[in-house]
């Protein structure tokens, strides 16, 4: 501090805008946002209503179906996707373990949530990724937004989500999608941009239209990268459903939140492991599925 005694105050203490002005600005932004929510709240609710229906429908289907039916369907999906006996047996065992410790219903709720979030992320992410790959300007515009979405602490954007949508499943879903969609967009963009220039040139030389090029060349060749994006999106949804339990999403995340609040060591870890189990099932299945789609590139001419 010794230097400061010689220097003018302006150089030593950062010249911040005074408290009054900041308070004014903050208040007007907050009020403006609240006003916006108040006047358009009903319209916004109406727009997201289909999400609510879809989510409720899937959740009911998962929870109220007999457990063995769900288990059989899951095992069938995993086997058909991966064609891998080890992964299938692992899935069956971990689901049975989850059921045994009494977490079946909560797991079903979380599964429904993650399924819906992943589907929505894919539906939103792939078209945006394609647009980004087609135009450098769009890429320049979207990239910083994605940076913000990925680095902003997830608790922070829970605030506007709750202000707009209130507490419940749909706001939770929206928060999860915001968190999980960036890798989908980025990897779709990257995958399309990495497609071999010469193959694209060949498609042009044979007179492909833009749509034919996208359908026949760009999407199929970008598929491994896009699959990696879907995998990342699933993993990030699983991580985020725990945080989203703070604004009313049920399932395993809610149990974790309660365990944190009450220092229930065992409950916390049991639910945590259940999440890990689902994550590994999703991850291995989607990766094995992705590899199976790429079978043609594995057999190299010797």
């Amino acid at each position: 501090m010794a230097i400061c005694s010689f220097l003018p105050e302006l150089l030593c203490k950062f010249p911040a805008i005074d408290d009054g002005t900041i308070r004014m600005a903050r208040k007007s932004v907050d009020d403006g946002f609240k006003g916006f929510v108040r006047s358009y709240g009903d319209a916004i609710d109406a727009v997201v209503q289909p999400l609510q229906w879809f989510l409720n429908y899937l959740e009911r289907a998962f929870v109220s179906s007999p457990w063995f039916l769900v288990l059989i369907i899951m095992i069938a999906v995993v086997y058909l996707g991966s064609r891998h006996v080890k992964i299938t047996i692992g899935t069956a065992l971990s689901m049975l373990a989850i059921g045994l410790v009494g977490l079946w219903n909560d797991t079903m709720i979380t599964l429904a949530m993650v399924t819906v979030c992943t589907l929505i992320s894919i539906v939103i992410g792939i078209p945006i990724g394609i647009l980004m790959a087609r135009s450098d300007r769009v890429q320049g515009l979207v990239n910083p937004i994605l940076d913000v979405m990925q680095t902003m602490p997830s608790f922070v954007y829970l605030i506007p989500v709750v202000m707009i949508f209130g507490i419940g499943k749909v706001p939770g879903l929206i928060a999860v999608v915001i968190y999980a969609v960036p890798p989908m967009i980025r990897l779709t963009n990257l995958g399309i941009r990495l497609v071999d220039k010469e193959v694209l040139e060949a498609a042009d030389a044979f007179g492909s239209s833009a749509w034919q090029k996208l359908k026949n060349v760009q999407m199929p060749l970008a598929l491994p990268t896009i699959m990696a994006g879907i995998n990342q999106t699933i993993m990030m949804s699983l991580a985020m459903v725990v945080i989203a339990s703070m604004i009313g999403v049920g399932g395993l995340g809610k149990n974790v939140l309660q365990a944190i609040a009450n220092q229930f060591f065992t409950v916390g870890f049991l639910n945590g492991f259940a999440l890990v189990g689902i994550a590994i099932i999703f991850d291995r299945t989607s990766q094995a599925f992705g590899r199976r789609l790429q079978k043609h590139s594995e057999v190299i001419h010797g």
Binding site: D196, E198, V199, E201, A202, D204, A205, F206, G207, S208, S209, Q212, N216, V217, P220, L221, L223, H296, S297, E298, V299, I300, H301
Partner: protein
Amino acid sequence: MASHAIEVKNLYKIFGPRGEDFVDVVKKGMGKAELNEKHGHVLGLQDINILMPGGCITVVMGLSGSGKSTLIRHINRLIDPTAGEVLYDGTDVCKMSENDLRQFRRHKTAMVFQKFALLPHRTVLENTIYGLEIQGIERRESEKRARGWIERVGLKGFENHYPNQLSGGMQQRVGLARALTNDADILLMDEAYSALDPLIRMDMQTVLLDLQKELKKTVVFITHDLDEALRLGDKIAILRDGRVVQQGTGQQIVLSPADDYITAFVKEVNRGRVVHVETIMRPLSGNPEGVSLPAGMVLEAAARTMTGAHVAAAHVVDENGRPIGAIDLQTIIAAMVTPTSHADRQAA
């Protein structure tokens, strides 16, 4: 009936954001290095004028950076020219609307690429029908046509293999089958055989020559290999630094190279396979003696015929069997070895 010739007229390509502004400067004589240094633009092609006759193989030869790949991409306008025209059947390809251009590419041209450019997720058959699929032709019909061409290029039995399961030579056969299935008048081959090893390359050259005998397409073939150019080309254009240095038949280029650059090129050429007997025959004096050789026969084949028949003298006949000149082994051998004047010119 149109001639199906391609005519490239006064074609200029200058790479860079303001290429058009520098065409005049280049016309006034600014070279490639100077343009790059002063204005930061790259001179791709300058003042290209080539007539590519219909039904013939025109080879464009040059080393890397000579602009040959840029030139072939102007014919189906994968690259837009800075100035000039590319005429096909009287239409300027460079002025076509986007839709016309797409139709032109679908129905009039087909292209074979140096690195094959096959779709890795599609089988040989699915790759081969690609052009027809784009045109919207019914699947069963296009498969029938594709199978025919797959058989013609010698890939029968591999229809359901993926490109990754095939060797380079076989992959390029798929590339060729894909182009031929399109049944276009123009076949563009961009260094199509450069990535193949020498034996397979010879093999593929033979495939092309055999097919061309019956198909009579307008083929534009890009290569950096003079032997390949001489073997395939009905007409050869040699490119250097984006400029045509010489064009003509293989024989014209070997026997009268336009400058030192081409002289250096043709020095190592096997003349016995390029020069025709009628080029070096002398006028008939008296009765034709020895065996008769058809005009258009190359010296190597003539020497083989004569030594096989144990004669030292022969006569050349035209297509009607009329004798038009005389030739002897001495002359043939003298013409087959590289003349010393070339070596002298090199030394100087």
